[in-house]
Subunit: 464 residues, 2 copies
């Protein structure tokens, strides 16, 4: 029998998890299929592969990463830790709970590199189109080698879509916005808040992007930060110079009116209006068409496309859990492909999805949503040999994190959490997030950075 | 015999010219094939269809237009006038020689609307991929209806690519640019210079984008404008506060070093580094792979793809001439498709292309380049029934325009030229370009705008 061929689209955290999953099986003596991972960027890491570019890249392709220079994890690393490649294993010593982007990139790079899977990736290759032949039960991928500007076709038995859904901005129109004379960007194009110093900044949106770009702008000296929400305010205890207003009525040059009758003038606007599920390489019958939620319709166990069970999606959900959830999904997809797990009948899959969609619709608050996603992951891990971990303990970490944010949105990143994988307590970082202007890995890993003294007092104070 | 089916990709000036060309034949009693024009934007006009958006649009597609709010034509309208739909016919009275974008959009919209061809356009439709079946001699287009998120396939006999090549920015890397704290955009994303007021601006590039964004920034009160050239300075008599420096060595935060040893600090950077020929919907064997020049290789008469003469490109050249050149190309492509003109043998086409490429390579200066393009257009028009016009007179207009710019880069748009189509002398505009901050069509067409008095003195001074 001919060897199966598997295409993975995207070498971000989800695609890397898929390659790791197959490598893990191979190291157990399993024969694994031929795998090709197509990645349009020049390196892997997906969102974590920072670029200064915005819009389209040097190949003319839409820039993937929405990462900004100064981003630190906005959730505790203990909630995303891999169960089979811990922070202790990678760094060899305890680190803090909210590492900056370079440190997290280093962590995921370290794990995938350990498995020797980089050779599976065709970097700077964009998948242009995917066809499925019902008779042959094969996919044909039309791919462009962006460096050599050559297009070609390859045939595969299974396709894993791991392109993410935080790359194509959702950009609604606002009356009169074309008359606004200042900078107007979407959060996807935001690369750092230094240039907002002294400015009156309008952030449109009431979720994670607005929250974090808001505190970044405050940290970097914005004159004022206004956040405009549609449904409800975020309600954090914002520092002086940051506040929330309701929905926008219209722009008139630099002046913006809001539905409560207020008018304010601004120098810059950042649209924090979310992202689109956008898969321009897929015919609509193979494509998720969903808002960003915890259980997109049409995906059995959040992974297998009901319309064609040779097509898999990783990381297509909204995310409390991230890296370890992608692992659970990748291990499950791998086991289906290897025949280690059996796919239930279409009818059984429908029944399973309906049950989970019912639970999903009944979710009433964030704690329930976190528990839902923990249960979802548990269900996946139970079907595979991925190391089970204490998901309830991770739920507690999420709830503590939410409390920390509620208490003080400027200091929650200074808190430390305990790993559920190793029991290791995170260290308090040498510098408070609000005071740290150097986000490099080098600086982060310093034991005794210059300027340590000024933080001794803070470091000895109780944190939780 | 079954009716031929023609696909036009893009409803910008070139695609509109193609539709107009077929409509003109139909009005002469000719039977014309079925035509579908796919346009990814919500309206036609291509570059002239201004949007405040940058990056990707509300459908997740790369934004097409590189237009900015305050753009006025940077060449005299007498050089781009349609030979069979004059400015006099559209506006009913003489206007000035350098209209702002809304006025030019109005002109091309007026012509295409007159032909009743808007129904041929499927707006918000992106062509995803094109296949060619050698045996059937047919193209299959995979198209996405962006509003309804549905993909489908349509078969065509001939395909006209009219997507332009000033939409995908060429964005080289610069050492250390990721450390620059200010705004970094490409000219493609530039929407207006108001926000550059008071700033030290670095424009990277030495061609039209740098030139015009430079004077825009000066007009809007930039503190200083530095333009960095690679091969040679533009050499205009720049006003106080604008100058040119050679190539960049590296960025170090806000400080930039240049190869001549200078260092300067900047607040904002605009990359004016040109555009890519980028056709992500075409396999490489059907795709131009060319720098931006006056005679891309592989295109017979600059229009017919040598590798497949059922495939046509419009406007794929670098451009002195624009709208009327697209007309000449569109009329020629139309006549080939209708069988009114005969395509020479492949060998004859090669000989023809080689002759023109030899002439192209021998071009030594801009005046020679303008004459080359005039000759190129003459050759096309002679093969069709498009009204021949005095191309030598247009060459003289281009040379006068270049002289005007050389004399004063801030006032060349206040000059008036004579139409070679109608003999009408353009009027002097009611307001000098440097003083006009309202670029609307409404304001432009005012006979006696408020503020007229202050310009009476200037208006009576000799202009040329």
């Amino acid at each position: 029998m001919q060897q199966k061929r598997i295409a993975i689209i995207g070498a971000g955290p989800s695609g890397m998890a898929a390659m790791r999953a197959f490598a893990a099986a191979e190291s157990q003596g399993e024969q694994i299929p031929e795998i090709i991972c197509y990645e349009k960027q020049d390196d892997w890491g997906g969102q974590w592969n920072f670029t200064w570019r915005t819009g389209t890249d040097h190949y003319g392709e839409p820039v993937h990463s929405s990462m900004y220079r100064n981003l630190w994890s906005n959730g505790p690393k203990e909630a995303l830790e891999f169960a089979e490649y811990t922070f202790d294993e990678h760094f060899g010593r305890p680190i803090s709970s909210y590492p900056p982007r370079e440190v997290l990139w280093d962590y995921i790079d370290g794990r995938a590199s350990q498995s020797g899977v980089k050779d599976l990736v065709r970097f700077a290759h964009a998948v242009r189109w995917i066809d499925y032949d019902e008779t042959a039960e094969r996919f044909t991928l039309t791919v462009e080698d962006l460096r050599n500007r050559r297009t070609s076709r390859e045939v595969f038995d299974e396709v894993i879509v791991a392109t993410g859904h935080f790359s194509y901005p959702n950009v609604p129109n606002f009356d009169g916005i074309e008359t606004f004379p200042g900078e107007v960007i979407h959060a996807h194009e935001f690369r750092g808040a230094e240039r907002l110093a002294g400015q009156r900044v309008l952030l449109i949106g009431g979720s994670y992007s607005a929250e974090d770009i808001g505190v970044q702008a405050h940290k970097m000296g914005a004159r004022h930060v206004t956040m405009s929400y549609r449904s409800r305010p975020q309600g954090f205890a914002w520092p002086e110079g940051v506040d929330e207003v309701p929905e926008i009525l219209r722009f008139d040059g630099a002046e913006v009116s809001f539905v409560d009758g207020q008018r304010r003038e601004f120098d810059a606007v950042v649209l924090c209006t979310g992202y689109l599920h956008h898969y321009p390489f897929l015919p609509n019958e193979m494509r998720i068409d969903s808002p960003n939620n915890l259980y997109p319709t049409g995906l059995y166990r959040g992974v297998v496309w009901q319309g064609n069970p040779h097509l898999y999606y990783l990381g297509a959900q909204d995310q409390w859990f991230t890296f370890n959830m992608f692992d659970a999904q990748a291990w499950y997809a791998r086991d289906l492909i290897l025949g280690r797990a059996e796919l239930p009948s279409p009818e059984e899959r429908v029944a399973h999805m309906e049950e989970w969609l019912r639970r999903h619709e009944a979710l009433e608050d964030d704690p329930a949503a976190v528990r839902f996603q923990a249960d979802y992951i548990r269900d996946l891990i139970e079907a595979t040999d991925y190391p089970m971990f204490d998901l309830d303990a991770v739920v507690e970490i999420f709830l503590a994190w939410k409390q920390d944010k509620k208490r003080d949105i400027l200091t929650y990143r200074d808190k430390a959490h305990r790993s559920v994988m190793t029991g290791t307590m995170a260290v308090e970082h040498h510098t408070r997030w609000l005071d740290e202007l150097d986000d490099s890995r080098e600086r982060y890993l310093l034991h005794q950075p210059s300027g340590e003294l000024e933080h001794e007092e803070q470091a000895s104070a109780p944190k939780r």
